[in-house]
Symmetry: C2
Subunit: 182 residues, 2 copies
DNA sequence: GTCTATACAGTGATAGAC
DNA sequence: GTCTATCACTGTATAGAC
């Protein structure tokens, strides 16, 4: 039924997103992936830590392809609105959590420090580079990029806390407007 | 050595902040509070859930006293910079995490949904009210308040992820400037 | 009030049959 | 590859001595 490791990554990611690293028990993972522990350890000999690392790598690859690269290479007047649209879809209007951000807030951050840091650094860098190519000065571009990336994470926290997708919508609209102005 | 429940709340809060709800084991809590399980269950008959609820209540009370009330009652030209300063100190320049925000991102949110929602709602409301008294129109005040509260949460995520207090400093400066303008 | 001892379900992980 | 059985261990929680 499951041919390769990549086939279980989406379900795996969802479990980590919903329950966090500690909360994602192997029993739960087994249920949601439809795989027994034997199969799971066949695909991930390193156990839960390797599962989480694989999920983080896949997330990074997805963002690299759909968000970071377009920001670096395409016309920023198109890439920025496209980023907003992609983020909106990916995080399901704020009802889905950013796994990398959630990991950053607890002690598992130390275990995956490099992956977490590089994800946010790549995002900020790509966005800043796009804004700069769009005509902004370097410092202004970096400042806006850092603000926007943080604002997205904050919007996710707030939308989850208030259980209000509307607040996520409003936040994304603000972010887009601010990135595109000037 | 420990006279009342409130005496262990600070240590308790720190354990939850560092390890999250699932990661905060009773063994760890026992170490950090210096109390045995017997004592812990004497103070918190409801176990870990009651501990977390007590911590959330204490956090809410702290913010109510030091941030929400000043925003509602004092001159916003003074209360807003004071909020920035208080937030900066409370979160240790972004090296300390917001427990309420961290809880909001995982499934324990559902267990403490009311406390989490009311914390962020109270913050946003108090800030919006202050801005309005400062002369902003109602919709503009609410919009800026929501943005600022989310931005603080985002700044905490980013500062932890990048392990860079500098990004938190910059974010707080931006937030203050934006709240005080106009 | 604080401790130790303990119950017992659940944890991550391994071994081996198929 | 996938399963079941099982491991040693840790989890929360309780009981009872002091």
């Amino acid at each position: 039924m499951v041919a390769e490791r990549a086939d279980v990554l989406p379900a795996l990611a969802e479990v980590f997103r919903e329950h966090g690293y500690e909360g994602a028990s192997l029993a739960l993972i087994g249920q949601r992936t439809g795989l027994g522990k034997g199969s799971l350890y066949h695909f991930f000999p390193g156990g839960k830590e390797e599962m989480a690392a694989a999920v983080l790598a896949e997330i990074d690859a997805w963002f690299e392809q759909h968000i970071f690269r377009p920001l670096r290479e395409e016309d920023p007047r198109r890439a920025v609105p496209e980023m907003i649209r992609a983020v909106h879809g990916y995080f399901r209007s704020g009802q889905r959590v950013c796994l990398v951000g959630a990991f950053a807030l607890v002690d598992v951050r130390d275990r995956f420090a490099d992956a977490i840091r590089s994800y946010f650094a790549a995002w900020t860098d790509a966005l800043a580079q796009g804004l700069e190519r769009g005509g902004l000065a370097e410092v202004e571009a970096r400042d806006r990029a850092e603000e926007a990336v943080a604002a997205i994470q904050g919007a996710l926290v707030l939308a989850r806390a208030l259980d209000d997708p509307g607040s996520f919508h409003r936040a994304m609209a603000r972010i887009e407007a601010r990135l595109m102005s000037g």
